[in-house]
Symmetry: C2
Subunit: 470 residues, 2 copies
């Protein structure tokens, strides 16, 4: 009944599968029978080196994983690239905000009457005797990686405080146009290296700007993403590119969200190959529920003729069962969401589960993000375990990987394979998850066909490489 | 769809319900909207004082909760009673086993060539200047209560090591006949004080003994439980008494289990009013799976005429999905279990879930036990949340309360009401759980009718008392 159980393996896939399953069985049974901690279920910040040493991870990392459909623009590139590349550039300033954390921004010159004590990063680095220590300090200041997240972040809301801070820290830095452009390229490089061929990116648009301080609207951003994406896929014809899902934030007021919806609707009409739709993100348990914005979100459908702006709504990314927050999964359904982000609360609502299944609503699942934000501790208890076992339309993604040092998809796929599926769930699960990511993307039919062909070629090659290891 | 949603409240119950729901809403919303830790979901060892201060807990503690159907003989009385009463008795000896933990036993005189350096507890206590410190030391040595269980016990198996040790520590002490008898009485006192009217007790029979070192068989134990139970319910006519579920342990060999099954079958025939059936307990993920014992367990049904010995099987008390351990929930079904203990793994198997529901197999759920044994961290992720929301036949019990200082049922009911059900789940959930515990007990029809009547009288009185608070 689980995801992938309908697939029939070729002889070659069958041989490759034996290698995967030997590793999986050893991993599970050596923990069970020796009463040893099952590290894939432990804190990712502690298990990461153990995971990466394993053959299973190396196989999964090399495996063509299809598309990444739930990532956020400011937290999709590697943190190392931000530290080692971005902060080494001219005109990048930093400042200790309220004696608490560093914020970054690009200026031609420091503003008159600054609200913060801005310092040029390259100069500060030069003044510092130990460059490695300087860079490590920047890194630690930005990252959510801590020694023991279960102690450092007592619960989901405590983790959100630090998590929100990250966006305040890098938001201005990454929205400087030359950096933003190169970040798009670098991100595609990193995702392609992890054997991903397409991305849909949530863009919580806060205004791109240039060195003279001019800011630009969403359309400029759209054109820029289109340009970089096309250049990239021209250079790497095995990569399809990226599309944008513009996102509002759940603390904005209704009229601002309405303005965004109108703007995104126009862009969706004008750039259907690059603008996929709209979402609302941000701390769901703390800020406004979806129904608060229902008038704004229903605006497109109420036009004459009715316009269908696809919604990709974060909903139910919470441990609450019910409350305004929990019922976002009802409203996501009523608002006809094209896909739903997380739906972590869904398994607690049997009738809603049935409706999601009947209507085949794809769910974007990001296990590592859920652990780092302290919704789940042991992945074996993740609510999506039941839905994976029942063949819900699930895609796996990596959410805000920058903040937690995870690879594009690979770690999340590893967790699903080892800790969130049965000991009998084999390579068909991984294959179907890759296929789902193409199927539930917003690529049009011909693009999907191309993506599918590209993926299949890579998959066959991958299977052959795995078999060579025998 | 949830448990209790079919019940229609009387006007009085409706008023009482408002008090419950006001408290529940405040508890949830004050956490959600203030981003404060939701303490009912935290470690019980840290949340316990906060829980007990609450009006909601006091209401639930006073509420008639029906029967407790999943408890174990050596861990059902309060630890304080063991320390302050049992260890103060004559002839009770203690010994530091392998420089590691204390074990207790009753001797007329210390055995020749003892395997351990036995010391008379009363004498040691006298020699100690600080009696309170002495008793606290005994307590800490026996209890699983630690400051931070998530640190002290890194996982389920680490917790099991300490947990198993407890039974090694007190097993001989509590099986000394005079102590065992008084323990039965004291336990019924404590459960009755927590507004419970009936108990079914797992007895992992290790041989009752007297001061001369004579040991006695299961039949003696059965008669003794019958005698104490009848005396108690004569003295307290609002208490129905207790029945026994004899339990083997999963590390025994098949022929020993077969002998036990035969013995219990005979006792079940002879004492149908006191022997309810048979179970297998012990560390499920580490020891033998059910199917290992299938020949022994099928013995009664294979007699001519076939004999139905009711089974109350621990099954799926594990985080594993699949493995020999996980598939115990299949075998419990195939072995026609009258009730299943824990079935923690069930929600990961959609088809099995359906079968359990169709066949109306009652599941015994013990949330606190699952947390202390490190299966679950945040109760809001407990796999039974989905099954409670879908009206599975669930009864709540308190498993090994001695080891974790929990009240008979009250804390577990509190957790289910606050953290394992929707914000809309009201007093009908609690009422139905109490009704379930009578319905799914092994009381015969006339006993059930009496239990039901007794419960209803207490319930009506309780509702009236709650209303007086308004």
């Amino acid at each position: 009944m689980r995801i992938g159980s309908n697939l029939v393996l070729t002889a070659a896939e069958h041989f490759a599968n034996e290698i995967f399953m030997k590793e999986k069985r050893n991993l599970i049974e050596s923990s069970r029978l020796n009463r040893a901690v099952f590290f894939p279920s432990a804190s990712f910040f502690q298990s990461k080196p153990l995971i990466e040493q394993s053959l299973l991870y190396q196989l999964i990392h090399t495996m063509p994983k299809g598309a990444s459909l739930h990532i956020h623009d400011q937290s999709m590139v590697s943190l190392d690239w931000i530290i080692k590349n971005v902060t080494y550039r001219d005109n990048v300033y930093m400042c200790l905000w309220q004696q608490s954390y560093l914020i970054f921004q690009v200026f031609k010159t420091i503003p008159l009457n600054p609200d913060c004590d801005w310092k040029l990063v390259v100069r500060e680095r030069k003044l510092c005797k130990d460059v490695a220590a300087f860079d490590l300090n920047l890194r630690n200041n930005l990252s959510l990686v801590v020694n023991d997240p279960f102690v450092n972040f007592p619960d989901n809301q405590a983790a959100w405080v630090k998590f929100s801070q990250y966006f305040r820290q890098v938001g201005q830095l990454l929205y400087f146009i030359p950096i933003f452009k190169e970040m798009l390229w670098q991100t595609m490089m990193e995702f392609r290296e992890a054997n991903i061929l397409y991305m849909e990116v949530r863009v919580t648009y806060a205004g791109l700007y240039d060195l003279d301080g001019n800011t630009y609207k969403r359309e400029y951003c759209t054109q820029l993403v289109k340009e970089v994406s096309e250049a990239f896929s021209q250079h790497y014809p095995d990569f399809i590119g990226m599309k944008i899902i513009f996102s509002g934030i759940r603390f904005q007021n209704v009229s601002d969200i309405l303005d965004e919806v109108k703007d995104v609707m126009t862009l969706h009409k004008k750039y259907p190959d690059i603008v996929a739709g709209y979402d609302l993100s941000g701390n769901e348990a703390y800020f406004r529920p979806l129904h608060y914005y229902s008038d704004a979100l229903m605006f497109p459908s109420q036009q004459d003729p009715s316009y269908r702006l696809p919604y990709f709504l974060h909903a139910g990314e919470t441990n609450w069962q019910g409350t305004e927050t929990g019922y976002n999964i009802v409203d996501a359904l009523l608002l006809n969401a094209t896909r739903v982000g997380h739906a972590y609360a869904l398994s607690k609502h049997p009738h809603l589960m049935k409706l999601y299944k009947e209507r085949d609503i794809p769910i974007e699942v990001q296990p590592l993000s859920n652990q780092v934000l302290r919704l789940i501790t042991d992945f074996r208890n993740h609510p999506m375990v039941s839905l994976i076992a029942d063949n819900f339309s699930i895609v796996i993604s990596c959410d805000d990987r920058t903040t937690m040092d995870s690879a594009p998809l690979s770690h999340d796929f590893y967790i699903v394979f080892t800790a969130m599926s049965s000991d009998k769930a084999d390579i068909t699960l991984l294959k179907q998850l890759a296929l789902n990511s193409i199927r539930f993307s917003t690529l049009n039919d011909s693009e999907k066909e191309r993506a599918q062909r590209l993926w299949q070629t890579k998959w066959d090659k991958f299977i052959n490489e795995v078999i060579q290891r025998r």
